[in-house]
Amino acid sequence: MEQRVVNQNEYVQRTLTNKQEFSLKKFFLQWEWLLILVFLLVLAINTHLSPYFLNGAGLRDATMIFLDKAFIVFPMVMIMILRDIDISVGSTVALSSVVMATLYNNLGVPMEAAIIICLLVGALCGLINGLLIIKFKELSAVIVTLGTMILYRGLAYVILEDQASGNFPEWFSFFGWGHVAGIPFILLVFVLFAIGFTLLLHKTTFGRQIFAMGNNPTASRFSGVQVDKIKIIVFVLAGLMAAITAIFLASRMGSTRPNIATNYELDVIAMVALGGISTAGGKGRMLGAIIAIFIIGYLQYGLGLINIASQTMLVIIGILLIVSVVIPKLNLKGIFSRFVKKRNTN
């Protein structure tokens, strides 16, 4: 009798402390710390391997180059927390930039208006994805966006065939190459979006609802979360950010063509997965994905500086990804104790 009371007390205590206690161990066990460590390692090893790596201008320009796809990472984090995926983003980049270039070059639309239409096209692509996914719930997001991936890329080819379209006004090249007080413009925009999306995901009701849906879609629906609306907003954001990428990319190259941004969706998904966002949904943080962008970006840059072949580079990044995704799932303690037991019996 006495014992049971004690147990009950313990139970109550545990639930209370779990809610409030700040655990130092838990804090340092976060995935983001590990990512920062890997990031520092990448920097250290790159510096060791190439005398050119620690070069301010070189690092700045490399950052400019790999940041273009990073914009899509933000909404992709949300999509993957929702247990979905969007593989049409690369094609969305191509379609929206091709529409922008065609409007400006062939239809005499002013560049400013063409940029706005480019954003609208991106948002529309996302909207179509979102609508298809909520209307046909039995279809997985992979299949739906696989379809639109082929469709959007196909449309881009229909519009421009196998041609490039460029001749943008002089000022347009500022997006891709411009600096503000020595800092690349694209980096400033990236930082703004990074802050915005981090706040959106972690400090707003909207963000909490995304996590709720990722953890348990049914429960969140019955709790009054407008699950369909949230899904559509997130997919529209993905389309919109793809259009932002399209603007930066078209500006960087001074032209666009239907095959731009090939495989960008895979790079983006790799960054999100490395960032510790669980594909099972409901888990992950924006910060992790942001660190992952820089890990992959600088790893690629460093390997490029020592002229490793592109195929080898893919292998290395593939291994990094597999290791980071698989290892946390392994039951290392089990393996360890079995190993110890075996040795003891021998």
Partner: protein, 351 residues
Amino acid sequence: MRRFLSKWAVVGLTVAMLAACGDQKTNQGTETEGGEASSDGGTPKYAMVFKNTGNPYGEKMMDGFQEAIEEVGGEVILRAPDQPTAEGQIQIIEQLITQQVDAIAIAANDQDALEPVLKKAMDQGIKILSVDSAVNANSRLVHVNQADPERIGRSQIEAVSEMINGEGQIAVLSATSQATNQNLWIEWMKKELEEPGYENIELVKVAYGDDLRDKSVSETEALLKSYPDLKAIVAPTTVGIAAAGKVITDKGLNGKVIVTGLGLPSEMASYIESGVSPAMFLWNPIDVGYGAGIASYALVQEEITGKVGESFEAGRLGEKEVVEDGDGTQIMLGDPFRFDAENIDEWKDVY
């Protein structure tokens, strides 16, 4: 505990992996340095950027480039993005700029998109030349062209004359009627026909297959119907020559009408082996790469600057001259390469 262990395992493996990359680098370094003096910035660095990896045509070209640089002395850097896109090439060129290479020879995925980054490279004193697939005139010093249009045109007439023993009717099956390359080559074919020795050869028609397979097939059929005595079809386009080869084979005209022109060895191998096309031409990618390598060297040594009228000694290719090409300049590499029954086996898997 389990999560703790697993996370540190990730760190360990990553370290091991990156360390492995380090080993690879040192291997590569010794390989490329060769017997040259030093690697402390004294050895010039020559880079070639191809369209994409895993392209047999590009691999051959890079082999030729490497051969040339080994001949003149220097470090070779061969790069290609894994996708044939301009953005991949921009990324690589940025890395090459940071490494302070001396010259970059590029086979471009886009004529204009590389302009900003190539101009940036030229501003830093890097010599830029395009090869095989040109960049616009603003973003290069010179372009290394596969083959001289005059030789492309004349060689095909020489070959066809030999195949039909200098007598009979021939027809040309071209791409579109506006194709600048093909029109230039056909002009040279006509000039060659005016030379002595070709009096008994009659060019009856120039047909246009528009580089479409079905149109090329129907144009070939029309030629055979209109000119029953036709001895040969010359198709200076890879689509046309393959279509003509197929029609002649299907109609059982092997031996009556022969086919020649410019074709891909991989597509033409069966027709060359069957005798429908005893020989045909295309440039040799190894020579293209070799020429680009020597031209890079000449630019770095300031033997040439890319202006019309300059010339340099291009190793085993002989003396080459810089000539005009639209707004820019180019270097033409001699004769197109001849493929026939004797050498087709070694080339058909190459490109």
